[in-house]
C-alpha cells in the first residue's frame, strides 16, 4: 500500500494507459481526480494515439441487422497469435440502444477506428460501441435542395473524427450546374461548419448511383463517382479532411465496365477498389501502389469462391479478405487468404441484409461528451418479430412486427418485401 502523494502524475498515466477500456470506465469511480483525469480530452486523445500505434489488424467489429426489426447489433471477432478465432465477450451481440423512428434501420454512413456514424432522415448519430455511448449531432445549417451525401472519416493529423455532408443544389451531370455546399462536423469542435469545399467540386461529376460507404484513409474520404464529361465512366472523388478540397483520381482506362460494381476500400494503407465483375461472378481487387499515379493502379488479385450470394466486405490481417455469405437465417463470415486461397470460417450472424465490418481499436472517444438519455418510448418498446424465410431464394421475404408494449399484443405493422426473382411469399 502506498500514498498517492508519492505517486507521480506521469507514473499514474503510464499505468492507466495500459488498462483496457472497460477497466478505465469502471475506475472513474475510484476518486474525483481519477474521474476527471480519465474523462479529460487530453487523456482520451493520448489513449487513442497509443492504442492505434499498438493495434494489430486482427480485430474486427461487425455491425449486423438483427432479425428483430429495427435493432442493430455489434460483435467483436478476433484472431489470437495461434490463429484461433473467437468472439469477444466484451462486445458480443451488443445492441444499439436507439431505435430508428421509422420502421427501418439506421443507415450507416461509415466508421473509423471502431467509431460509427449512423443517420436517418435528419438525425445523425455517432456511436462508440467500445464505451457504449452515442451522441446526436446538432442539425446542420445547409438544406439540401436536391440530394445529400454523407461521409465519415478520421484525420490522424488532428486525432479528430469528421462527418462530411455534401448538399447538392442541382444535378451536377450538366455543365454549369451549381456546385454542392459542403459542411463538416468535427468531434473535437462539437459543431458543424460550412466550408468552401464546394469551390473545388469538379464539374460533371456525380456520386455513383448506388452509393456505398466512402472509404476513409490517410486523412481523406474517397467516393466512387461517375464522370459525365467522359462517357459516365467511373472515377474516384476524394475530399481531404485537412484542407477540405475535392480531388479526382482517375482509374485505369478500359478496365471497368458500366455493369461492374465498384467500392473504395483500404488495402495495407493504400487506396483500393473492390470490383465485382458481374459477368464473371468474381471480384477483382485493385490497389493504387503510388498515390496519385494512375499508372500505379495494379490488379492485386481476383477472388472466385464458387459459391452463391457472397460479397467482399473489406480487408483485415494485412491482406486477408473478409467475406460474407448469405444463407438461411443469416450470414456466415469468412476470411479468405489470397496467398493460400484458403477460406476460414469466422462465425455466423443472425442477420437480415448485409453486414459491415471495421478494424477495431479500443478507444474512449465521446467519453467527455454530455450524456444523452434515450427517450423512454424508444427504449421501452419491446417488439417481437416473426420472420419468415423463403426457401427458394434463401432471403427474408416478410416480417411481421408485434408490439408487446401493452398487455395486449397488437400487430402494429406488417412489412412484406418481395425479393427480385422470387415469386413465393410464405406466411407463418
Amino acid at each position: 500500500m502506498m500514498d498517492l502523494e508519492y505517486l507521480p502524475y506521469d507514473v499514474l498515466l503510464e499505468i492507466l494507459h495500459r488498462l483496457p477500456v472497460k477497466s478505465l470506465i469502471r475506475f472513474r469511480c475510484v476518486s474525483k481526480s481519477w474521474n476527471s483525469l480519465i474523462t479529460s480530452p487530453a487523456f482520451i486523445n493520448s489513449n487513442l494515439t497509443r492504442t492505434r500505434s499498438h493495434s494489430d489488424s486482427n480485430k474486427l467489429i461487425v455491425r449486423y441487422l438483427d432479425v428483430a426489426l429495427r435493432v442493430e447489433r455489434y460483435k467483436l471477432i478476433h484472431e489470437d497469435n495461434d490463429n484461433n478465432v473467437s468472439s469477444s465477450e466484451e462486445i458480443q451481440d451488443l445492441k444499439l440502444p436507439l431505435r430508428s423512428s421509422r420502421l427501418s434501420y439506421f443507415q450507416l454512413v461509415g466508421s473509423a477506428n471502431g467509431l460509427f456514424c449512423l443517420y436517418e432522415g435528419n438525425r445523425c448519430i455517432l456511436w462508440n460501441p467500445c464505451i457504449r455511448k452515442f451522441i446526436t449531432l446538432p442539425n446542420p445549417s445547409v438544406t439540401a435542395e436536391f440530394f445529400c451525401y454523407l461521409a465519415f472519416g478520421f484525420d490522424s493529423r488532428t486525432n479528430d473524427y469528421k462527418v462530411v455532408r455534401i448538399a447538392y443544389k442541382s444535378d451536377t451531370r450538366y455543365e454549369g450546374a451549381k456546385p454542392p455546399l459542403v459542411e463538416v462536423y468535427s468531434v473535437n469542435e462539437g459543431s458543424w461548419r460550412v466550408t468552401s469545399g464546394g469551390d473545388s467540386y469538379p464539374p460533371k461529376i456525380t456520386m455513383s448511383i448506388r452509393p456505398q460507404q466512402a472509404a476513409s484513409l490517410n486523412g481523406a474520404v474517397y467516393f466512387v463517382a461517375n464522370d459525365w464529361g467522359n462517357a459516365q465512366s467511373f472515377i474516384v472523388l476524394s475530399f481531404d479532411l485537412g484542407d477540405e478540397v475535392f480531388r479526382l483520381i482517375c482509374l485505369p482506362y478500359g478496365k471497368f465496365g458500366s455493369d461492374d460494381r465498384i467500392f473504395t476500400s483500404e488495402f495495407k494503407g493504400l487506396l483500393s477498389l473492390i470490383c465485382y465483375e458481374s459477368w464473371h461472378y468474381i471480384y477483382s481487387i485493385w490497389v493504387m501502389k503510388e498515390y496519385g499515379i494512375v499508372d500505379s493502379w495494379t490488379k492485386q488479385f481476383t477472388i472466385d469462391l464458387n459459391m452463391q450470394y457472397w460479397k467482399v466486405l473489406r480487408f483485415w490481417k494485412n491482406d486477408h479478405v473478409l467475406v460474407q455469405k448469405m444463407q438461411s437465417g443469416g450470414l456466415m463470415l469468412f476470411s479468405y487468404d489470397p496467398e493460400s486461397q484458403q477460406v476460414k470460417n469466422l462465425g455466423f450472424c443472425k442477420s437480415t441484409g448485409c453486414s459491415y465490418a471495421d478494424n477495431y481499436v479500443e478507444n474512449l472517444v465521446l467519453l467527455d461528451k454530455p450524456n444523452e438519455v434515450v427517450p423512454k418510448e424508444e427504449s421501452e418498446q419491446e417488439e417481437e418479430v416473426q420472420s419468415v424465410g423463403c426457401h427458394i431464394c434463401l432471403r427474408w421475404c416478410s416480417e411481421i412486427v408485434f408490439s408487446a408494449k401493452s398487455a395486449f399484443r397488437q400487430k402494429i405493422t406488417t412489412i412484406r418485401r418481395r425479393t427480385e426473382g422470387c415469386s413465393r411469399v410464405m406466411w407463418q
Partner: protein, 148 residues
C-alpha cells in the same frame, strides 16, 4: 547505461571535469529503497545478458525476456510493484518502468473499485450520490469483476 538517472550523474561529473573512478564513486539514491534497487539491478543485468546472447535475433530476445518477466512476477508481491515502479521512475529506467506498469495494470484491471483504492491508498472523495450515479451509468463495466 540503463539507469538513466545514474548515467546523468556520470555525465554531469564528466562535464565538471572530475575524474570519476566508477568503481569507487558512491552515488546517492535517496528515493530508492535497497530491496527494489536490488531487483532492478538483477532485472537490468538479466536484460543485458539476454540481449547479448541473442545479438541479432530480436524475437528470441523478446521471448526469453518475457519468460524471465513471468518468473519474476511470481516472486514479487503486488504491493511491491508500486515501490518498483517508483524506483524505476526515479532511476529513469524505461524498460523496467514499462514492464512494472504493465504488471500493475494487469494486476488491477479486473478488480473492484475498493481493491484499487486500497492498492493505491486512496479514499473516495465523491459527494453523496455522485458515485452511485456514475456506477449506474456504466453498470456494464462492473460485470465480471473479480471478487475481493
Amino acid at each position: 547505461m540503463k539507469f538513466c538517472a545514474v548515467k546523468q550523474y556520470f555525465d554531469d561529473e564528466n562535464n565538471n571535469n572530475i575524474t570519476s573512478g566508477a568503481s569507487t564513486t558512491m552515488i546517492p539514491l535517496p528515493n530508492v529503497e535497497s530491496h527494489p534497487l536490488a531487483i532492478l539491478i538483477t532485472y537490468c543485468k538479466k536484460h543485458l545478458k539476454i540481449k547479448a546472447n541473442n545479438a541479432d535475433n530480436k524475437k528470441e530476445t523478446e521471448k526469453e525476456m518475457e519468460q524471465y518477466e513471468q518468473e519474476l512476477l511470481k516472486k514479487v508481491m503486488p504491493q511491491e510493484l508500486t515501490e518498483l515502479i517508483l524506483a524505476a521512475n526515479y532511476l529513469n529506467f524505461k524498460e523496467a518502468l514499462d514492464f512494472f506498469c504493465r504488471a500493475v495494470a494487469s494486476a488491477i484491471q479486473n478488480k473492484s473499485i475498493e481493491f484499487v483504492r486500497k492498492f493505491f491508498g486512496l479514499e473516495s472523495d465523491f459527494e453523496l450520490g455522485e458515485e452511485e450515479k456514475l456506477r449506474e451509468e456504466f453498470a456494464w463495466s462492473f460485470e465480471g469483476v473479480d471478487e475481493d
